[in-house]
């Protein structure tokens, strides 16, 4: 059973102001402490290694410490081509992550299958899991990855963060 939010007419302005400020605070905290799970498969993995190291450094954005277990991470970075054989593994890893979680499709193979339009490659991971940010490129330059992380951070800052129940 899921509770729904109170209709607009029943919400008080003071409470909404409090909720907005809470969302800003929690959003700020969450966006600058992303724990990525680098689901690395292919060539984009090389650019992931480059973007984690000097001079591009994701540590400046708080997104440096990878957690190689889905239980401890909140950002699933799908880096590289996902084949049909790998798809159940990806789905299992996604389902093992706790809320709040975000998914980044790193590279065109994760976004749409890239130029592998055949029996083997999954044509985009959004066929099996919801995606929050798509980073095109084959492989994307590290600056593009950082741009993607920053856009994701803007998105996280602007979204609702219910921490107690649906209303707050």
């Amino acid at each position: 059973m899921t509770t729904t939010r109170k209709p607009v007419s029943e919400r008080s302005a003071a409470f909404e102001y409090l909720t907005t400020k809470k969302d800003e605070l929690v959003g700020w905290a969450r966006k600058f402490s992303l724990f990525p799970y680098p689901f690395v498969t292919a060539c984009c993995g090389m650019e992931f290694m480059s973007v984690s190291s000097t001079p591009y450094d994701t540590d400046r954005f708080g997104a440096a410490l990878p957690r190689f277990t889905p239980r401890q991470s909140d950002l699933l970075m799908v880096v590289g081509t996902i084949s049909h054989k790998q798809a159940p593994v990806l789905k299992r890893v996604y389902e093992q992550m706790c809320e709040p979680k975000w998914v980044m499709a790193f590279g065109v193979c994760a976004t749409s299958g890239g130029f592998y339009q055949n029996y083997a490659a999954l044509p985009g991971i959004d066929k099996i899991i919801p995606v929050d940010i798509y980073i095109p490129g084959c492989p994307p330059r590290p600056e593009m990855v950082i741009d993607g992380i920053m856009r994701l951070q803007e998105r996280i800052a602007g979204q609702r963060h219910p921490i107690i129940n649906q209303d707050f």
Binding site: H84, K85, A87, P88, N118, Y119, L122, K127, V131
Partner: protein, 160 residues
């Protein structure tokens, strides 16, 4: 020097092999499937082709027999390569496995089997290797359409 090696090989295997061809520096022997195991054993033990490089197949859908099974070998002492070709048809695509002679044959024969459907008699393990359980068909055959997908995880509704 490689020409001398090739001449010796062909002389020894003249009965089993057809006309030798030297294609871009490699001796190509066309042999019957029944002679494959003995020819490879001779190559390994008499002529020192100690490294098994590769096995693959070529699909000629308009020809009978349909498949060419192609093996490549390398001699680490003489630094020459040899290609063996055998023809098998679609109704009996069976060749002998080289697993008793070379350990490297295990995985390569598995891949050739799942991609083309060639059965390697004597290979104890012909499970899918690059493909997955439940994949129907042999994708590298010419009659398998490139874009026919067999997803393991059903697709969700498209993102809004």
């Amino acid at each position: 020097m490689s020409a001398a090696v090739f001449a010796r090989i062909h002389q020894a295997l003249a009965v089993a092999a057809g006309e030798p061809v030297i294609a871009h520096g490699i001796l190509v022997l066309q042999i019957e499937p029944a002679a494959l195991a003995s020819t490879v054993r001779a190559l390994k033990e008499q002529f020192g082709f100690d490294m098994f490089l590769d096995v693959t197949a070529v699909d000629w859908p308009d020809r009978i027999p349909r498949f060419d099974v192609v093996h490549h070998f390398y001699s680490t002492t003489a630094h020459v390569r040899v290609r063996l070709k055998t023809r098998v048809g679609i109704d009996d695509p069976v060749v002998d496995s080289l697993v008793p002679l070379y350990g490297a044959a295990r995985y390569m024969e598995r891949e050739c089997h799942e991609m083309y459907g060639i059965v390697f008699r004597g290979n104890p393990d012909l499970r899918p290797l690059l493909l997955y359980e439940g994949f129907v068909g042999h994708p590298l055959r010419k009659d398998y359409p490139k874009q026919r997908e067999q997803p393991l995880v059903p697709y969700r509704d498209p993102p809004q």
